[in-house]
């Protein structure tokens, strides 16, 4: 291993290929019981009475009254109940948990329980907000008053479901006063902390272990805490192993999704340039706030994406509606905003009669520019080179010209974007305070002790590589087992593209420490804790300063053909260039690129989810359409080196970057192919039909 980027076989590939990797549903324990949730059929109602039939031996029912301490799921905003108490606020809200020794009895009991409700009038429109945020840069008001022209547009995005192939699940066990939860999770300590709050118990009474995770994409960031709290109450009471695995329908109906959004944008134009943008983003948070405030922040912070706009006036609301709560999903608010800004810049360019490509390019960020929140882009930005590379790979300029001809029904679209690495603002320094340990044993093996979860993104491989590389040890001397809160310190959640950069960075430092103190045959442990680089300043209240320690950058080009008879979109090719600092493993980064793009592009044209009166209409994998191998186009991806001083070997975040630019690229391509402006995604055949019909009249 000379160069850290050189690919090595993924350390867990064999187990996964041969079917021996153990996911939570694969655990089969002695005397295992099963749990299922009784849920609200109403979008909003008062619970009048609960009628529980005489329970058969071994069957138990738990609800709000059984919660030992706090009836909320501990996360950033604590309004989400573990069990509904007096009212229910969305269809599918948990009211009770039933536990039975077998699934037949379980089903019979769930069916026999009767909850009486007084239905109330639900709210589905964006009226009551739970979070409001705003920030400014420069003097937007002045720029608008001096503008030659003002251009305005509204952009809308729909739900997106994570659609990990493994539904959510936990198995809980009890031994010697300790409740252990093994689950499909991204954030072992989120789960543990939620348990401590809801159970009100001592640290050593709960333990959380990560099973193999069959895909997460943000969907297993906060939601598992809810399941875990419910299950833990039952496990502690019954002192028996209990398994709770959602089936697909339940998972789709009740777990968090990407927030639908509406973004209104106004631009002040002077001398052919955008002098100011006023943007307002509205997110539908669903019934409870949960992480919506943070999602809103990230959306707002992405407002100018890869462009430098001197004056900004940005605000946003997260609204409460009687629908299933929305939450984390790869990109975390950024995909909504990047769709809006990329389309808007493109549309402004067109409206001004300029070539949108040139128009956008003259607004591109350069090193030293001020960010949206008046922080500084300190590190080198290679976007010029990246755009040139991507356009050459895709033969963009030739195609964009050719496809302007009418009746070819082809289009090519391009997006430029950045993604802030790590937690927003002061999150890393103030909330997470990431801690990592390396334990060296007597056989000179080094054990990585972190709470980072490998959910397919390859953390097990890359983090082992980093440590092995620093210590110049063979890879099999470095051990990384799935996190278990009894063994590992809280290195933070596996979210926000922070694992390689932040956790990896701390591990590299810990490894350096270990290297200098190395004593053969002696067992000892070293620890490292996150320290914010001094120059990073952020004010949470005014949203001013450096929102992120570093940024990753990307360019996506998507080519489509639209069938003029059926309006179906055929993605023909995807070309991308990414700057993730330094790839800790080239092949793993290519996998992140391909997979993220697939989700991002599909978000733009394929994936539809909607609700009617709070009931999601897309209930399963037959209704909710994600791409198959036939839908996905061949891709060509390139990663360029641009090492970041504080990342391990120069690495920055890579997990979310590849998703955030897919939608505007495919939407622009479709826009060109059909010759109609697109302001709403997904741009489905139905939407295209509507656009064609509307304008042909």
């Amino acid at each position: 291993m000379k160069n850290i980027s050189d690919s090595i076989p993924k350390v867990d590939a064999h187990e996964k290929l041969s079917g021996s990797a153990k996911y939570v549903s694969d655990y089969m324990l002695e005397d295992m019981h099963y749990a299922k949730t009784v849920r609200s059929p109403h979008a909003k109602a008062k619970i009048k009475a609960i009628h529980i039939p005489t329970l058969k031996p071994g069957v138990h029912v738990f609800g709000a009254k059984d919660i030992p301490a706090k009836n909320h799921v501990n996360m950033i905003f604590d309004d989400w109940p573990v069990f509904a108490e007096e009212t229910v606020n969305h269809v599918g809200e948990p009211v009770l948990l039933v536990v039975a020794p077998d699934r037949k009895l379980l089903k019979e009991t769930v069916d026999a329980i009767q909850v009486e409700y007084d239905p109330l009038t639900p709210e589905f429109s964006l009226k009551a907000f739970a979070v409001h945020k705003a920030f400014k840069k420069g003097d937007a008001e002045k720029a608008f008053s001096e503008a030659d022209e003002i251009i305005e547009e509204t952009y809308e995005t729909g739900y997106q479901e994570q659609a990990y192939i493994e539904p959510q699940g936990f198995i809980g066990t009890y031994e010697d006063g300790k409740t252990t939860l093994i689950g499909s999770i991204q954030c072992p300590y989120y789960v543990k902390n939620a348990l401590l709050v809801t159970l009100g118990c001592a640290e050593n009474e709960v333990q959380v272990i990560q099973a193999e995770v069959g895909g997460a994409f943000g969907g297993k960031e906060e939601f598992p805490s809810l399941m875990a709290c419910q299950l833990a109450i039952a496990v502690r009471t019954l002192k028996k192993p209990i398994k709770m695995i959602y089936e697909r329908e339940e998972d789709m109906a009740v777990t968090t999704k990407r927030h639908p959004s509406k973004t209104r944008m106004r631009a002040a134009i002077k001398d052919g340039r955008v002098q100011a943008i006023e943007a307002h983003v509205s997110l539908d948070a669903g019934a409870y706030t949960g992480l919506s405030g943070v999602v809103l922040s990230r959306a707002m912070l992405a407002v100018s994406s890869a462009y430098t706009i001197p004056n900004l006036d940005v605000s946003g609301h997260a609204y409460i509606t009687n629908t299933v709560p929305n939450g984390a999903f790869r990109g975390f608010g950024a995909p909504q905003m990047i769709f809006a800004i990329e389309m808007f810049m493109h549309h402004i360019g067109k409206a001004l009669g300029d070539d949108p490509y040139h128009f956008r390019r003259k607004h591109l960020v350069k090193q030293g520019d001020l960010t949206a929140t008046a922080g500084i882009y300190r590190d080198p930005i290679l976007m010029d080179k990246m755009i040139d590379k991507a356009t050459a790979m895709a033969d963009y300029h030739k195609k964009v010209h050719a496809y302007n001809a009418p009746d070819v029904y082809r289009g090519i679209g391009m997006s430029w974007f950045l993604h802030g690495c790590g937690f927003t603002g002061s999150g890393e320094a103030e909330h997470i305070k990431s801690k990592v340990r390396l334990r060296k044993d007597e056989a000179n093996r080094v054990h990585i002790l972190v709470a980072a979860v490998d959910m397919g993104q390859g953390a097990k491989t890359t983090l082992r590589k980093v440590v092995a590389h620093v210590l110049k040890l063979p890879l099999d001397q470095v051990i990384f087992d799935n996190p278990d809160t009894d063994r590992v310190p809280d290195s933070g959640p596996t979210v926000a593209s922070r694992t390689a950069m932040i956790v990896g960075g701390l591990l590299a430092r810990a490894a350096e420490k270990l290297k200098t103190s190395w004593e053969d045959g002696v067992a000892y442990t070293v620890e490292e804790q996150y320290k914010q680089p001094d120059y990073i300043k952020w004010d949470e209240d005014t949203m001013q300063g450096d929102a992120y320690p570093a940024y990753s950058w990307g360019v996506n080009i998507v080519e489509v053909a639209v069938d003029p008879v059926t309006y179906q979109v055929d993605v023909i090719g995807i070309w991308s260039v990414y700057d993730v600092g330094k790839a800790l493993d080239e092949r793993i980064i290519m996998g992140q690129a391909d997979g993220g793009q697939a989700q991002g592009v599909a978000y733009g044209y394929l994936e539809v989810m909607a609700h009617k009166q709070g009931v999601l209409q897309h209930k399963n994998m037959t209704d909710y359409i994600i791409p198959t191998s036939v839908d996905m186009a061949p891709t060509e991806n390139v990663v360029i080196d641009n090492p970041y001083a504080f990342g391990p070997y120069g690495a920055k975040g890579a997990g979310e970057l590849s998703l955030v630019g897919g939608a505007p690229a495919v939407a622009q391509a479709i826009e060109q192919a059909i010759g109609k402006k697109i302001c709403k995604i997904p741009a489905t055949p139905e939407h295209i039909e509507e656009l064609m019909r509307r304008e042909s009249h």
Partner: protein, 279 residues
């Protein structure tokens, strides 16, 4: 509740003669429709006869004037069989996924009677005859007389689909278009089969069948008949009027997969595109 795995057709017919049963072929519709929770057997409330592996129903045979396909031949087999008309193979290539095609059957697709059943669209266009067999009788029924509405058929309790007969036909041009929710492993939002035979530019035979836009597959023989004997250019001239007539008759719905407006427009576009190929 009894579960019977008959070894012969004879045995199967005896079982179904005794009263209502669930006739289970590949199970790809039944197991979804009657799915229970994980770990529990499907919610089947009647005696079940498992037909999939009955050897007597696994044949493809050329007969005078046509091809006879045993009811339990999996879709996958048809896909690779040279005697199966090309238009049907084209259709079946868009059917579900490889794993499903290996167990799903034509008989199941017919008896399931979904307006979005893909094979049905082409079976309607090919004037397929369904052989219904009971201990007492054998009837050969045109497919449109077997299917009367969503999940509704005229198959009697004591009957099963023994085979499907495809009368010989040769066309100058055929077309299958599946407009699914995505490019593979999808349910049709609209489907279309068109077959036409020209002789000296005169239409000798034309068949137009539409899926997922009516309570059954939609085919209008009188509109077709009116085109027979006409010069192809004259047919092309009428394409707009013809589209209007079809639109008056079909009745697409809004659902989670699509909406009526889209289904109407696409039906019209597909038909128009097909007709215009005659020019």
């Amino acid at each position: 509740m009894r579960h019977i795995i008959p070894e012969t057709l004879e045995e199967a017919l005896h079982v179904i003669a005794q009263g209502p049963t669930i006739k289970l072929a590949g199970g790809t519709d039944i197991m979804v429709k009657h799915r229970a929770s994980q770990g529990l057997a499907a919610k089947l409330r009647q005696d079940v006869v498992y037909l999939l592996n009955v050897p007597d129903l696994h044949y493809i045979r050329k007969e005078d004037n046509g091809l006879r396909i045993g009811g339990m031949v999996p879709i996958e087999t048809l896909l690779h069989h040279d005697d199966v008309p090309k238009i049907l193979r084209d259709t079946l290539l868009d059917f579900a996924s490889p794993g499903l095609r290996y167990v799903a059957t034509l008989a199941g697709n017919i008896a399931n009677a979904s307006p979005a059943g893909d094979a049905l669209v082409t079976l309607y266009a090919l004037d397929a005859l369904v052989r219904l067999k009971s201990l007492e009788r054998t009837r050969d029924v045109p497919i449109e007389a077997v299917i009367v509405g969503p999940s509704q058929t005229t198959i009697q309790d004591d009957e099963l689909i023994e085979s499907v007969f495809l009368p010989d036909a040769s066309f100058t041009h055929t077309e299958w278009r599946k407009v699914g929710t995505r490019r593979a492993d999808a349910i049709s939002k609209v489907a279309f089969t068109g077959c036409v035979t020209l002789d000296n530019d005169i239409v000798q035979d034309i068949r137009l069948a539409f899926g997922a836009v009516f309570k059954t597959v939609y085919r209008n023989r009188s509109l077709e008949k009116a085109l027979i004997g006409q010069h192809r250019h004259d047919v092309v001239k009428q394409s707009d009027a013809l589209c209007e007539k079809y639109l008056e008759n079909i009745a697409p719905i809004d659902d989670q997969r699509s909406n009526a407006s889209y289904r109407n427009t696409v039906t019209k576009n597909l038909l128009k595109a097909f007709i215009e190929k005659l020019s």
